[in-house]
């Protein structure tokens, strides 16, 4: 049986349930506020958004849903992975597309550029919190998702290059592939 054709980002987004974007934005804002109140240090909050309790955790669960709903076949290489994240992944969950740019010479590092970002509607950073990467959850989500991709687990490093809340003209994330680990099966068939 021929495999199902991969759906475009728009098609997937149209086929799933939606929720009001403002509710989503405001809930995220409430969460960041809680973290700031509890942790007080901007760096700590950045870490938390990225790591265990937020971004990364979401990423490792999100990848299953992503693969199930989008019918994307196994990506041949990192470049394809990047395109899929930007066009299908972002569209499917956040309703916006990102673009992929600035590939480095070895093809292991690229930039994801977002002009429209539902997480930051109506948000401005006060001066005391200028060090805060408000959308750090995105870097965690990408890291978590790429690590859990079933055939090949990719360890990446994700950093912010441009942030509109800091006065730049777009959001730019730099994704760098550190290591690719093909999945090892716990048993071999014939031995």
């Amino acid at each position: 049986m021929a495999p199902l054709a991969p759906k475009t980002g728009d098609a997937v987004f149209a086929s799933i349930d939606h929720v009001n974007a403002e509710l989503f934005t405001l809930t995220y804002g409430a969460m960041v506020r809680q973290l700031l109140t509890d942790l007080e240090e901007v760096e700590e909050v950045n870490k938390q958004l990225d790591q265990m309790y937020v971004g990364y955790n979401i990423g490792v669960r999100l990848i299953d849903e992503f693969l199930a709903k989008s019918n994307v076949s196994r990506c041949v290489d990192f470049k394809e992975t990047a395109d899929v994240i930007a066009k299908v992944g972002f569209k499917m969950f956040l309703g916006v597309t990102a673009s992929v740019t600035n590939w480095d010479a070895e093809g292991t590092s690229f930039s994801l550029v977002l002009e429209d970002n539902p997480l930051v509607d109506f948000v401005e950073l006060p001066d005391t919190f200028q060090g805060l990467h408000y959308c750090n959850i995105l870097s965690g989500v990408i890291r978590g998702a790429l690590e859990m991709v079933c055939n090949v687990s990719m360890k990446t490093e994700v950093t912010w290059v441009r942030d509109m809340l800091h006065g730049d003209d777009a959001y730019e994330l730099r994704v760098k592939l550190l290591k690719q680990i093909p999945e090892e099966y716990p048993y071999k068939d014939d031995e």
């Binding site: 929720v19 009001n20 974007a21 509710l23 979401i58 969950f93 309703g95 005391t128």
Partner: protein
């Protein structure tokens, strides 16, 4: 206060058009985010009541701001009723509250209700509109249905009732 600083309206922000092409995000994006919110708060508290309080506070912050954007909401709750016992009580009930759809409660958490977040939103909206009230979320088991309905109970403050009476 941190909350105030976060979404303070500077003139350039106000100049941005309010209605945008994008109104929605995927339900699962919200579900993931909400579940992380709950899980994070679980680590910060010792008991259920405190957890519900924290969720309610988070919801309150949302509600206070959502009032301005209320016109975008399409979904209406299943029903709005007036309580029979007290003049100042109203109830909004919903068969499957959005936030409860993807959350399962472990046995040892018994009475915990994520509807606390929604109760907080409602309280925030009412407070900002000038109708202070105590808002709580309750599970109401229904005959023949697996999952209980969630009811948001609104008890208006004294001054609201007095004002209503004066306005006649």
């Amino acid at each position: 206060m941190i909350g105030v600083g976060k979404i303070k309206h500077y003139t350039n922000l106000l100049e941005k058009p309010l209605s945008r092409g994008r109104q929605e995000v995927s339900l699962s994006a919200f579900a993931f985010l909400f579940s992380e919110l709950v899980q994070y708060n679980q680590t910060q508290v010792d008991n259920i009541a405190e957890l519900e309080r924290r969720l309610e506070d988070a919801g309150y912050a949302v509600g206070a701001r959502v009032l301005e954007l209320l016109c975008h909401r399409e979904k209406v709750a299943d029903s709005l009723e007036k309580g029979t016992e007290h003049e100042d009580e109203y109830m909004i009930s919903e068969k499957e509250l959005l936030v409860n759809r993807f959350i399962s409660i472990p046995k040892d958490m018994g009475a915990f209700n994520c509807g606390a977040f929604v109760a907080g939103i409602v309280k925030g909206v009412l407070d900002s509109a000038g109708f202070p009230a105590v808002v709580t979320a309750h599970f109401v088991p229904m005959e023949g249905q697996q999952r209980p309905r969630t009811t948001i109970l609104i008890k208006f403050a004294e001054e609201v009732l007095r004002r209503e009476a004066r306005l006649g």
